[in-house]
Symmetry: C2
Subunit: 191 residues, 2 copies
């Protein structure tokens, strides 16, 4: 944020907004939407594996995440999730309903996570990933997961009594999404 912005309470508003000292532009700070998916595929042993991407970018470079990212203008939540799966994992997916809606209030983020499957065979690392792999449940590298919401979404997917099920919200012990994962410090910036 530029240093030219200051926080000002405007008439008829109930909280301060960022206003440019030069031109008066009000930069409303709205929560941002992240769209992503737990992509299931056969593990080759009669069970299911999930796609994870090892991050090529900060924050949490080198840690594993789900294909997910900021929703753009002009797309639907499903289109955003499909775009992110392509950008990060070169995977063509079909979504199968909303798995979870997570709030990360500390950073003003709402994450809409889908259940999904590969719509075409194949996947590989996109530009923001070092590596993309399918993990059977018992192989998931829990100590190297990038963000708490990735862990939540994987468990929600696993615990769901099959699709369709109700969309979950934050786990009760972290209703506001404010607790970082144990282990290496979060570099901030994403869930």
């Amino acid at each position: 944020m530029s240093g030219q912005f200051e926080r000002v309470r405007q008439a008829d508003d109930d909280r301060d907004r960022l206003v440019c000292r030069d031109c008066g532009y009000v930069a409303y700070e709205n929560p941002k939407i992240v769209v992503g998916s737990v992509v299931a595929l056969p593990d080759g042993l009669g069970g299911e594996a999930v796609l994870l991407c090892r991050r090529a970018i900060e924050p949490r470079r080198g840690f594993w995440t789900l294909p997910a990212g900021y929703m753009e203008m002009g797309e639907t939540v499903e289109e955003g999730a499909r775009r992110e799966a392509w950008e990060e994992a070169r995977a063509r997916i079909r979504t199968e309903g909303v798995l979870a809606v997570y709030s990360v209030s500390r950073i003003g983020q709402v994450q809409v996570m889908f259940r999904a499957r590969l719509d075409e065979p194949g996947f590989e690392a996109g530009p923001e990933s070092l590596e993309v792999r399918a993990f059977a449940w018992d192989e998931i590298p829990w100590d190297d997961i990038a963000f708490p919401t990735v862990r939540w979404a994987l468990h929600a997917w696993r615990e769901g009594a099959g699709y369709p099920g109700p969309a979950v919200l934050n786990p009760p012990e972290d209703a506001r999404g404010t607790r970082p994962l144990p282990g290496p410090a979060l570099a901030g910036g994403a869930g």
Copy 2:
């Protein structure tokens, strides 16, 4: 938006952004999140009624809507839905899961709608409502509903096989939320 902003494609980006000619501030346009709820209460005849608010503000002043509005920074989706129910209908509610996640791509909006119930008796018009009423299903003023997503959410609530159920997305015939309701022209601005 101020006239000082122009659309510029920046390095490492794949779409134009609004950049201030004076200070270089990039005003990212992100989809905004609306949070709201279908609040159920006894209709006095052994069935259920739902709370609707008659809008005191444009767009669609005088039309009926669900208690819903823009999510603010620092709150969770549930907290936002509860705040809006208080602001618009002076209702204290408890949410009971996600009913629907709607995309209105034309105006860059995602609506997270909850199933909810009154947590305390009583409701009345808040400052943005002319009137708040509980409607039994057969009394809902379908011709005077403010936005398509209100109609969708009411039908999703009615058709749901009871809570908990899977969260729905846009109806297939309007996957991008771009079709206005039949009848008086939409004044734009909200779903």
